[in-house]
Symmetry: D2
């Protein structure tokens, strides 16, 4: 009997990416696909590449209320923040269903930070204490048994995977961290806007929400602070940029070695953390985003310039996979007692 899976918000990019992975998954099966905006539409017309691969019952997108009346084993929510939390109560109320939320609604433990960042009241702060942050390699034990998992942001994953073990091991300082990140256009989502118009993106490169303005920064700071024994990460900077390509994130991260520490220590710390992980690879050379496209992998390189006591880290991942739907599936596998790599290789 295969795991029955429902997807809320299946028409967006992360929803479609999940569908693609689930259609190849040996132990899971899609039970329904819901949509906020295209109820009743034929999913095979929204994504012609799935037209002949999905069963007839999946072709017609159901409404979110209709979805809420069901009890699948796993629900993935690919809805926008706020809409996501609003739709999850019925699934939280039944005993059977477990939830992986790809929105930002449960990523930040501190309610005030959430409210300030997303500019609305948190709909379910009472659930937060039991929701682990779904960075699989870091919070595996909590995720395994969770009712609801908050799948991390794409930028966040590329920054947290290298930094958390380094901070835990005391190899780098918690202060003065700068993450300069670059993302493909799929990170903007499927909505047609002036910013996502081909002519706006093609043959152009730009920064946006520089320094301390991007919504992923609070979840990043919170996770890093926890790794650094509660040290403040308030001066951490994060600048996202838009790259004219479909998918991929590369983060160039500038950190300072803790007193007495050097490249051997940082290499040892990351090797200890990831040597046995399937989806995190430590590289000696510099990775290109294309080398991880359509995989659930994060590749990490380290470099220590001769002067200044800086450790520079370059990490790459696919924002749609390890940065979203792939990690969500990895979490599903973990929660269901399956091999984490199932359907992801």
């Amino acid at each position: 009997m295969k795991i029955q899976v429902g997807i809320l918000g299946a028409t967006g990019f992360t929803g479609a990416e999940l569908v693609g992975f689930l259609l190849r998954h040996p132990s899971a099966e899609i039970a329904w696909l819901s949509s906020e905006s295209q109820v009743g539409a034929d999913y095979g017309k929204v994504y012609p590449q799935f037209a002949h691969r999905i069963s007839d019952k999946l072709r017609t997108l159901i409404s979110i209320p209709a979805a809420q009346a069901t009890e699948p084993d796993i629900v993935f929510s690919c809805l926008p923040h706020a809409a996501s939390a609003d739709s999850l109560a019925p699934f939280m109320a039944n005993a059977k269903t477990r939830i992986i939320d790809l929105s930002a609604d449960f990523r930040i433990q501190e309610v005030a930070a959430y409210t300030a960042t997303y500019e609305h009241q948190h709909p379910h702060p009472e659930w937060l204490p039991q929701v682990p942050y779904g960075l699989t390699e870091i919070h595996r034990d909590l995720i395994r048994k969770a009712k609801l998992v908050a799948n991390p942001g794409c930028y966040s994953t590329s920054i947290l995977l290298p930094l958390i073990p380094l901070l835990k091991a005391g190899v780098i300082e918690a202060t003065g961290i700068i993450a300069d990140s670059k993302s493909g256009v799929s990170g903007m989502g499927k909505k047609a806007t002036e910013a996502s118009h081909y002519i706006s993106c093609n043959e152009s490169f730009s920064a946006y929400k520089i320094g301390d303005q991007h919504r992923h920064l609070p979840e990043i700071r919170e996770q890093l602070s926890a790794a650094a024994n509660g040290a403040s990460l308030n001066d951490m900077l994060f600048t996202p940029h838009l790259v004219p390509m479909e998918r991929g994130i590369l983060s160039t991260i500038y950190t300072r070695f803790a007193k007495g520490k050097n490249l051997s220590d940082s290499q040892a710390a990351l090797t200890a953390a990831y040597a046995r992980e399937e989806f995190v690879r430590l590289r000696r050379d510099l990775p290109r985003t294309a080398e991880v496209a359509r995989t659930n992998e994060c590749h990490i390189s380290q470099y220590a310039p001769a002067e200044g006591g800086t450790l520079i880290i370059v990490s790459v991942l696919d924002n749609m996979v390890k940065g979203a739907s792939g990690q969500a599936l990895q979490n599903m596998n973990l929660m269901c007692g399956l091999d984490e790599t199932l359907g992801l290789r």
Copy 2:
């Protein structure tokens, strides 16, 4: 009588860009085009877009020795480093010709730094004392009367234009500067290599020569040190990245405010430096590289995050224009007593 111009190494990207600008220049005229590798070839076949716009005498590429026997008013050298310095002696020896060298051969005043960076003996260290660094807005008075001008690197221009006035005014610290730069593929030059293959570049983003390894860093450090009263810039970091697009550089630069200084001071310093400049624009919003494509402009934005005392600068330019051939032409205009913007608007 128009200014007679010779171009050494006309088949490369910067050579072709120069030809395009010069064909529209009201007061200058191309006298000859030379090539290292394609002597005798038809320039109209190398670049079909010029086929019907160049006169018959320009169509056949002459050899560099043949070029050296002539005495035009201005010689642009678009040759690679080393080859460039080697070919300039005859032009240095005649009284009439003035030279703008787009290679790296005369950008670094300190001979040891040049030798270490470019891994060969400097062919003409005796010329260095009289060669200004051709950042027009900064060294205008020296360039105006120079025999030989060292046209700056593309990355360097995007970093130096914002930082030099800030260091001169004491608004930012000379230590701890990080420049995270991103460039289009034309920066790699015209040579067909595995790295410049369409399939290597397209749909991928990568860092290269991170931290302290790129050849533009010594010239950047030298110029910044001069602006900072000789302070050491040895801990400055510079990480270039490759963007899947033809042209454009964006530099995201992280600096620290000097004690007691803030965003008003940095804005005042850059306004004082550039308010009357045609080709440097101070922006309140964040610039996209596409907004300066095919122009000789550098656009600069500043942002001061709430915490940490950091000033973040974003600058954009076209690596082929203000980063190379456009600035070379601006220097020619200046050296010849013309309006600097001639042929560049």
Copy 3:
């Protein structure tokens, strides 16, 4: 005294392209910019690349009614079809203003064909008899003295320029013509739609409105029929395709030699038509769209396969320039008695 120019619908791609050309035009000056959708907006924010190049009075977009109260020398209408014809009556009514309409409203002489194609009643069929089709090289004498000129479609220009002289000279048959055309994404216009989303266009190629469904076909057939002494072009096929790039059209056109005619005849016919034209180039090799990007040129190659009596023509142009705003400016120059190439080289 410079020619005073008004632009209706200045926020679209063709409007912006016109503004760019006019800012460099030595004998014309923009009097106002209007907008249907963004009245009162700052044009320098809509297009930051123009922010410091336009005068203060141009920065604020005026309404179309406000525009209609003025009497510039030339009005360009970059409005959509129907909206364009609706806004032109006041300009038609004054003696001074002459109009170049970049919409489709006056391209088709036969009213029934217009109505069928654009699915609304023609607002001013009474103007049609005096409106020349603005293919400059073909209808120069009519355009020179016209009150209102219908600027051709982008695809149409790439197909008509090679075919009209061949049909006039009787070198090719009027039956069995197939035009297989490919266009960059700017041809879709500035509106943000699912089809113009970066992720829809990037890394994909597709056909649309194949065979006989595209709106440019009626104007193409009408012009070709006129060139062929009224022969029917009803079996002509035209298939447009979308290329993942900003600008450029390439049309591959399959035609049949008339009895007894061959490649020498077709070369002679096109040479006779275009040898003295600045903007049409006959090529021996195959042109790339990049070679005409940002120029007002159309490059044409011909090839006759050994078997079958076919003449294949490849033509390229920039859909935004010779395919729209450049040709409009060429028409303005012609109408105002200026050198046709002014501002276009």
Copy 4:
């Protein structure tokens, strides 16, 4: 016991694509990877995405002579034409190994046509009579038992799949066929040339080898002639174009209905041929290349314009998959008695 597979010429694009598929294949295993140009190199450095997925023994590329000394179950040759035939004799000589040749060496049955097209003497004309053309859906019975299979060209597959059943059924004429095809850049191969430079391909579209000059045309004509009872296809035209994208082919094919035939007949013929095929999909809407990227599918649409008796066919496939390595793997599955879709979904 898994099928043992050797790959000759593993460093090219089709070799790497094969490796990617084989690493996920449940019943086959790579025994060795050979290279003409990079013997001894680490395959994990040539393609970093495979670095941690291939076993140690595969990492070092062996020489082609060393490969020839082995006897795997299946050898794929991804070598260039001529080199491929030259290296296959030892495998032909042993009883065990069966061969799938991705080069052009055995695609054309008529030796004179091969010699004229590839400009060298055919090294093994004596093998030709027993080599089926590896278009799986068409020549399944011959491929199943073949010693050596000639895997079709990428363009050829996109043209032959729709046309062969239509000619066999007598629905279309064999004369006057025009295939206007467009391909992504990976079709040019991995060699770094001026033509494959990013700056040559990006933001440009071009035709090449138009009409009757491309090397795939003889194999296309031969296969179509066979489908049309030996009718001459000598007047068939084929024009390939280069699209600025990585992968994908779209062919727009213009054919004439046979007397009395219409769209119902062509739909019936293709439905009869492909309704039960996994990898050929008949579409009512127009397919985009992105919809088949990284799949082994060919999608086909048909359209009959109102006038002229023409049937227009649009077909899309991934030139690297159904156009090369995917079809090769499909042939391997067929030859080994496996489910054809194994490793390909």
